[in-house]
């Protein structure tokens, strides 16, 4: 299939400099068709990227091209289309492997999303391992998707969920985390970047701590994966999950990385076609990795779209993206702090481009409605992280989350909309 090269939305570095190439935001924006639309008669200002990112045209084209030129079921037919579809699907797996620097494509499992990846590990890795009195350790700032699957595994086995606390800035208290790595700890599951607070956790250090106690680690990279380069071999983790729709790719496709030796030892998660070697009524045998964990017809078009999305990210470049987002985060932090009555929730030492905040006397839901009328899309609520809200003593927050295509002008629009909120509630 024709895979268009992503637009190189960067301007060349001036002279000899090792600084990352600066993003040409207007060129990046031109790659995202939805950014041209208006909302309530105002230009769309999309600041809900932590919920899902928008898609560049190359991703939309890749999906359309898959369906218009090679659609067929994979790993089955001998006919031309099935072979081409299988090639495209497996090419995406190789692209994902390279993106996360896994040692082998056998370690890359396609899932629906990060949530499914965590559930797979909870059911196929943790559950058979856990016995009464064992512990699964998480942090106090996990998304519900990195809490509930472990609760289910614990409930089924009599194991206990242990929680490492966070401080008032939203950083994991490492000494407290280490104290909770006990001889009964069977797994540590922790986010790389908090969706509610923006905190970037020191995962390498944390993995090191866990390994010193012989504890395997799952990293929830749902938020981190579209902001920074992740290298599973350098991280040393046993599992890592990410989701396509936050990587500027389509919904319905996610990735589970698992260390091969771990995956080999695990029983299947879902049963069905494609995951078997042979089936009889007396019993069945499992397919090899990674297929053992991919039951049923997979999301081929999603995989193809994800492939295009990863190409796009790399064409822009993580260094450029990170530099742009860091500048924008600093600008936005200052802009919000200048508005009377606004308090940021989550001021970690190392933060990704997420601003969670509350405003004196105004409920986040009212903030969300008013800024929406100005065309500004932010998230309000508990962000699927109710324990985090409880930790900071707020029922909910408003959250602006930034991506590579956001601009200073959009931050200005957010600030102006927030001043309007103040006016309404004066």
């Amino acid at each position: 299939m024709t895979q268009e090269t992503a637009t190189a939305a960067v301007i060349p570095a001036r002279g000899r400099t090792s600084a990352p190439r600066e993003i040409d935001v207007q060129r990046v924006r031109a790659d995202f068709p939805i950014l041209e639309r208006t909302v309530h008669g105002k230009p769309l200002v999309y600041l809900d990227n932590a919920a899902t990112t928008q898609k560049p045209r190359v991703v939309l084209d890749a999906i359309a091209s898959y369906y218009t030129s090679i659609n067929a079921n994979v790993h089955r037919g001998v006919h031309e289309l099935s072979e081409r579809a299988t090639e495209a699907y497996e090419a995406s797996r190789e692209r994902v492997r390279a993106f996360f620097n896994a040692a082998s494509t056998r370690e890359i499992i396609f899932t629906r999303n990060a949530t499914e990846g965590i559930n797979l590990v909870a059911q196929s890795f943790a559950r058979p391992l856990l016995t009464a009195g064992d512990e699964v350790l998480i942090s106090a700032m996990e998304h519900h998707s990195n809490i509930v699957p472990w609760q289910l595994a614990c409930a089924a086995t009599g194991a206990r969920l242990a929680v490492a606390p966070i401080d008032d800035r939203g950083d994991v208290i490492l000494e407290e985390l280490e104290r909770r790595l006990t001889p009964r700890t069977r797994l540590l599951a922790i986010t790389h970047m908090s969706n509610a607070l923006g905190t970037i956790t020191p995962v390498r250090e944390i993995v090191g701590m866990a390994q010193a106690h012989g504890v395997p680690v799952l990293i929830d990279a749902s938020q981190a994966a579209y902001h920074m380069r992740l290298d599973v071999q350098a991280l040393g983790c046993d599992f890592l999950v990410a989701t396509g729709h936050k990587l500027y790719g389509p919904t319905g496709i996610g990735v589970l990385y698992g260390r091969e030796s771990r995956l080999e030892a695990m029983p299947p998660f879902l049963g069905g076609g494609d995951m078997i070697a042979s089936v009889s009524f007396e019993g069945s045998t499992w397919n090899v990795l990674p297929y053992k964990f991919e039951a049923g017809t997979p999301h081929m078009a999603g995989a193809v779209g994800l492939h295009a999305a990863l190409d796009y990210i790399d064409a822009v470049g993580f260094e450029s993206i990170a530099a742009h987002e860091a500048q924008l985060l600093a600008y936005a932090t200052q802009a919000l702090e200048e508005i009377p009555g606004i308090r940021l929730i989550g001021t970690a030492r190392r933060k990704g481009s997420i601003l969670s905040f509350v405003m004196d006397g105004v409920h986040p839901h009212d903030i969300g409605t008013i800024v929406d009328r100005e065309g500004v899309a932010i998230r309000t609520g508990h962000h699927c992280a109710q324990p985090v809200m409880e930790r900071f003593g707020v029922p909910a927050t408003a959250r602006a989350s930034l991506a590579m295509y956001n601009t200073r002008e959009e931050i200005d629009a957010l600030a102006a909309a927030l001043r309007k909120v103040r006016e309404v509630f004066a």
Binding site: H363, D366, T369, G381, P395, V424, F425
Partner: protein
């Protein structure tokens, strides 16, 4: 901006700032808890029934301006009514906030200030949370959710 000013009318902002009947009620005969997980709105409604008459009614909780103002105005409107009258009021209010915005709705006095939520579909639940909690309290269900 006219839709916004329809939503955040002065009477609503006033009830949000100074909610009426905003306290626990000792000797309540019926209570219920309402929760909207979408925005975290949470309220407890207290009723003191004498026979079929609502003698006292109050609420506590935290929520957005719409849910707080709606609860505040509702408690004002309920005092002295019978359970059957409260039921009828629930039906009328429910009809008002779920009628499409381009259609006329009956005048419900102060409660009509909440008709502005019709332009904001996701906020209808905020306006109706207190009323669903009232229903639950009267039928002695202990908890209600609008999700």
């Amino acid at each position: 901006m006219s839709e916004l000013s329809d939503l955040y009318q002065e009477v609503i902002l006033d009830h949000n700032r100074r909610p009426r009947n905003f306290h626990a009620l000792a000797g309540a005969s019926h209570t219920a808890e309402g929760y909207n997980p979408l925005c975290g709105d949470r309220l407890t409604l207290y009723l003191k029934l004498t026979g079929e008459t609502i003698e006292e009614v109050s609420f506590e909780g935290a929520g957005c301006a719409i849910s707080k103002a709606s609860a505040s105005m509702m408690t004002d409107a309920l005092k002295g009514r019978t359970v059957a009258e409260a039921d009828a009021l629930f039906e009328r209010f429910h009809r008002m906030v779920t009628t499409p915005p381009d259609q006329a709705v009956e005048d419900m006095g102060k409660l009509s200030s909440l008709a502005g939520v019709r332009e904001f579909p996701v906020r209808v639940k905020c306006a109706s949370l207190a009323w669903h909690t009232l229903k639950a309290a009267m039928t002695s269900k202990s908890r209600v959710s609008t999700e």
